[in-house]
Symmetry: C2
Subunit: 192 residues, 2 copies
DNA sequence: ATTCGATCCTAGCAGTGCTAGACATGAGAG
DNA sequence: CTCTCATGTCTAGCACTGCTAGGATCGAAT
């Protein structure tokens, strides 16, 4: 039995290596550079090994996305916990969100731009995704205001941040004005 | 001379055909299905002909994007012109924008999601893109409110709509709640 | 009628995601 | 301690991608 346990452990270890390497490669050179060949070469195995862990490239992207969701939730919670008052917390949330997107563009792409084969906004949505949304909701529920539910408000606030994040990263918005954009969003959307 | 004129005319006609076919194919089966081979086959020429008109696939996407920008500007202007009062105009703008994105997903992708090799938010930005932004600004300038410039306000409002549009299309937001989302955005962001 | 240049196509390159089938390695039975 | 056999891995290959070099063909101008 201990032989099988060791093998299972090594397999899990190799799977972590695949995900970490894919993420690293994507952050360094973009997702287009993450080819099965290059990825296989970096982990020092042949390509078919990848397919014994994941159904295909899409699932690897999905694995990176789940990892990113967990980290983003933690980043948002850490930022909001360190702020005093609802208004300051919303500011902190917005900055933490955009900061995460800017610092981990490949992970952000895996989460919200690419197809990682994950279900969003449904019952079978993976836990890390639900938790990331919950992290936003915990803070934004405080400033929802009247006439709308916290869920809907969180979705809209999130969508706005997402728009700023993606348009900025694809050079459709100039990054210099990010700060006043955040201020405008928080001032107008949040009800304190 | 008239021979050369005819040839130039035919060339321009074929270029229009390429762009129209690419757009059609993209709307029908997504941009991934727009391969140079398939595109060439549909226009009944060989692949190299495409490269005598465009530097590559990227430029074809760019051409579709420019076409889309012109149409979107027209759609927004038509919708806002038919509405009475600033508030109704902003509503009409938001609906027209999201409606355009939902009805022309491939064109929307070419404009704001894919890389068409176009410059945004700069001096050498193509006229259709500037004009599409201008169409938004004409309406949103009315409801900018105090403390921010109309340009910045338009950017933020646009980004919010973009976030809703893209997250909805990629099934990260459920399409059922689009209407209350628009209402929330307009009610909170626009100052009437 | 004949040159000659513009135009277009065939064929091919290097790369992609993915997979079938050969091969080796090592655990368990005798 | 040897042999069998399953597990795990790799080589080689498929059908596809964007893109291009070089040859063939066609038609305008002499």
């Amino acid at each position: 039995m201990s032989v099988q346990e060791r093998k299972a452990r090594e397999r899990a270890e190799r799977e972590r290596l695949i995900v970490a390497t894919a993420r690293e490669l994507a952050e360094q050179q973009g997702w287009d550079a993450v080819t099965t060949r290059r990825l296989a070469e970096r982990i020092e195995y042949s390509q078919p090994v990848l397919y014994s862990h994941f159904r295909g490239k899409r699932e690897i992207i999905g694995a990176v996305a789940l990892q990113g969701a967990t980290e983003m939730a933690a980043a948002v919670r850490a930022a909001t916990a360190a702020a005093d008052g609802p208004r300051a917390r919303v500011y902190a949330l917005a900055r933490a969100y955009l900061d995460f997107a800017a610092r981990n563009p490949a992970v952000y792409d895996a989460l919200f731009q690419l197809d990682g084969g994950l279900a969003y906004a449904q019952e079978d949505t993976p836990e890390p995704l639900k938790d990331a949304f919950a992290a936003l909701l915990e803070c934004l529920g405080e400033v929802t205001g009247d006439g709308v539910g916290p869920g809907l408000f969180t979705e809209v606030f999130w969508a706005s941040l997402h728009g700023v994040a993606t348009l900025t990263r694809s050079r459709r918005l100039l990054p210099e004005d990010t700060e006043p954009r955040v201020k405008l969003l928080v001032d107008r959307l949040a009800v304190v």
